[in-house]
Amino acid sequence: MSLTEKQVSQIAYLARLSLSNEALKSNTKDLNSILSLAEQLAEIDTNDITPMAHPLHMTQRLREDKVTEQDQSESFQAIAPKIGKKHYLVPTVIE
């Protein structure tokens, strides 16, 4: 499996990364060499192996359903680029 430059530029767009032509070429090369390294895994029979969702052999600890957070909106909004009356303001999103 290998990626074309077109696919890499699509992935870059989805991640909102802007790549120069040069960077696109070198990134495509790098990604393909990572993929070919990973391809060695295909040689192993994994039929009886449960897919791993997490490298740690532990399970999720759960939290009691209790509200302990206080309203800290003032300090959060102090670092926001723009706020209105309690709203965060962002450039208009047209639907």
């Binding site: 509200v67 957070e69 208009t92």
Partner: protein
């Protein structure tokens, strides 16, 4: 050409927890913007999501209620996309290992029962809210809703008409309220439906290309949006065109669906397991505990209403169609055990009519179950007739007091004194000789005339049974 409609629904039920799914901020609806969005909800650096145990328990509850397979090991994934109301740039959801696997639910439509398959139900966090019409040059973002726990319930493409889709959505709506995992409030967005709609030539097995309808916040709109979409697709296909796979927004005001292209181009979510969250393990003990705590489900309640109270299939169906309706009915029965049919008639008759007319939900009824219960007792102990009781009910609805207060203050107590009624009957018979002759010559219908006269003379208060008996014996 004849077309077959194929519909699958994705229902988002907001789980009624106090705190969010991955943070300890409150979930209460209607708070001042952004006052319930903590550092975790905002996706600030260095925060760690920790799963809410109640969200897990409620999802399990739903799974058990639809006889689904519960995945005792399930995993959270990141669904990546950019939108201002999604601060982290990804939504935590479940893809390959959802908490609830395959299940099913029966719907009844026009007397026919059909089983609808449920593909899966998974836990996820809600996004915030974008408000586009508050400012001219900006979109305003309220992140209070961000991180609210949702259960997304995905059906198989088993529905063949808008009506079936509505019946299924209502069934799920009733169920989540019965088992107490969601308040079902559609205006506040606690229960939302997206519909995947496609059509195919009748008899063809392969599914047509589907469109996903979003922004549907009532059952009425669900039916309308689907019918509208089916018509649109038929027009396209009959003109030789092709249906595009896309997301369409339903506009209830303009009564149209329109393409939402902005969401389409980002439709590559690059899911991967969330490294911040470990796999969730659910023990057999927990499953047994939740199973034991499950309340009576709508189908079970319906069967019991028929068996225990002798209600008809239809009555039992209507009374169990909403949790609050069933609760109301059962409260009436606590005092009026032997009057199940009378109670059912009142709930489905006067009460429902008044609620519908004023567009009030039963849980907000101005006449409480306890109040109506007393009125029903007064009917069964012959204090008032069924007809007068309707007037008493109206006064109760208008807040004029309890049934007893109203009966007393308006002097509506039924006349059961035989002597009193007899005097009135005698007078009417004496004054209406021609009608008496007609009755004696076999005109049974004229009896109604005498009843009417007597009721008029007593302002409707004569006990109808006594009156009828007396008239027959005197005239006969």
């Amino acid at each position: 050409m004849e077309w077959e409609t194929v519909i699958g629904l994705e229902i988002h039920a907001q789980l009624s927890t106090k705190s969010k799914i991955f943070s300890a901020a409150a979930t209460q609806y209607g708070a001042e913007p952004n006052t319930q969005a903590c550092a975790v909800d905002l996706g600030l650096p260095g925060v760690l999501p920790v799963l809410n145990v109640e969200a897990v328990n409620k999802a399990i509850k739903f799974g058990l209620a639809i006889n689904a397979h519960i995945n005792q090991r399930n995993v959270f994934d990141r669904k990546n996309y950019f939108y201002p109301d999604l601060p982290k740039g990804y939504q935590i959801s479940q893809l390959d290992w959802p908490i609830v696997g395959e299940g099913e639910i029966d719907i009844t439509l026009g007397g026919d029962t059909k089983t609808i398959g449920i593909t899966r139900a998974h836990l996820e966090e809600d996004a915030g809210k974008s408000i586009h019409d508050l400012y001219n040059d900006y979109t305003a973002v309220d992140l209070n809703r961000a991180g609210t726990p949702l259960l997304e319930i995905v059906s198989d493409p088993d529905m063949r008409s808008a009506k079936e889709a509505v019946a299924y959505a209502k069934k799920i709506h009733t169920l989540v309220q019965y088992i107490g995992i969601c308040d079902g409030n559609m205006q506040e967005g606690s229960f939302r439906c997206d519909a995947n709609v496609s059509i195919r030539p009748m008899g063809q097995e392969k599914l047509g290309t589907r469109a996903e309808l979003k922004n549907i916040n009532s059952f009425k709109f669900l039916e309308r949006a689907i019918n509208l979409e089916v018509e649109r697709q038929q027009d396209i296909l009959e003109e030789g065109g092709e249906v595009a796979q896309e997301t369409r927004l339903y506009d209830a005001v303009k009564h149209e669906t329109r393409s939402m292209r902005s969401k389409e181009e980002a439709n590559d979510y690059r899911y991967f397991p969330d490294p911040d969250l470990l796999p969730v393990e659910i023990s057999d003990e927990l499953l047994d505990k939740i199973r034991a705590e499950l309340p009576e489900l709508p189908m079970e309640k319906k069967a019991r209403f028929i068996a225990e109270f002798g209600l008809s299939e239809y009555d039992a169906d209507v009374l169990t169609s909403q949790k609050y309706l069933a609760d109301y009915f059962e409260t009436l029965l606590q005092v009026n055990q032997s009057q199940a049919k009378l109670c059912a008639n009142w709930v489905m008759g006067e009460l429902s009519a008044s609620l519908n007319k004023n567009q009030i939900e039963i849980q907000d009824s101005p006449v409480s179950a306890q109040q109506l219960s007393l009125l029903i007792t007064r009917i069964s102990d012959n204090t008032v007739s069924g007809k007068i009781a309707k007037d008493v009910f109206k006064a109760m609805w208008d807040g004029e007091g309890s049934a007893d207060d109203i009966i007393k203050s308006k002097g509506l107590k039924q006349m059961t004194d035989t002597g009193e009624i007899e005097a009135i009957v005698d007078e009417i018979i004496a004054n209406n000789a021609p009608q008496v002759e007609q009755f004696k010559s076999g005109n049974e219908k004229i009896l109604g005339f005498f009843v009417g006269q007597a009721m008029q003379a007593t302002q409707g208060k004569a006990n109808p049974k006594l009156l009828n008996e007396m008239l027959r014996s005197k005239l006969g």
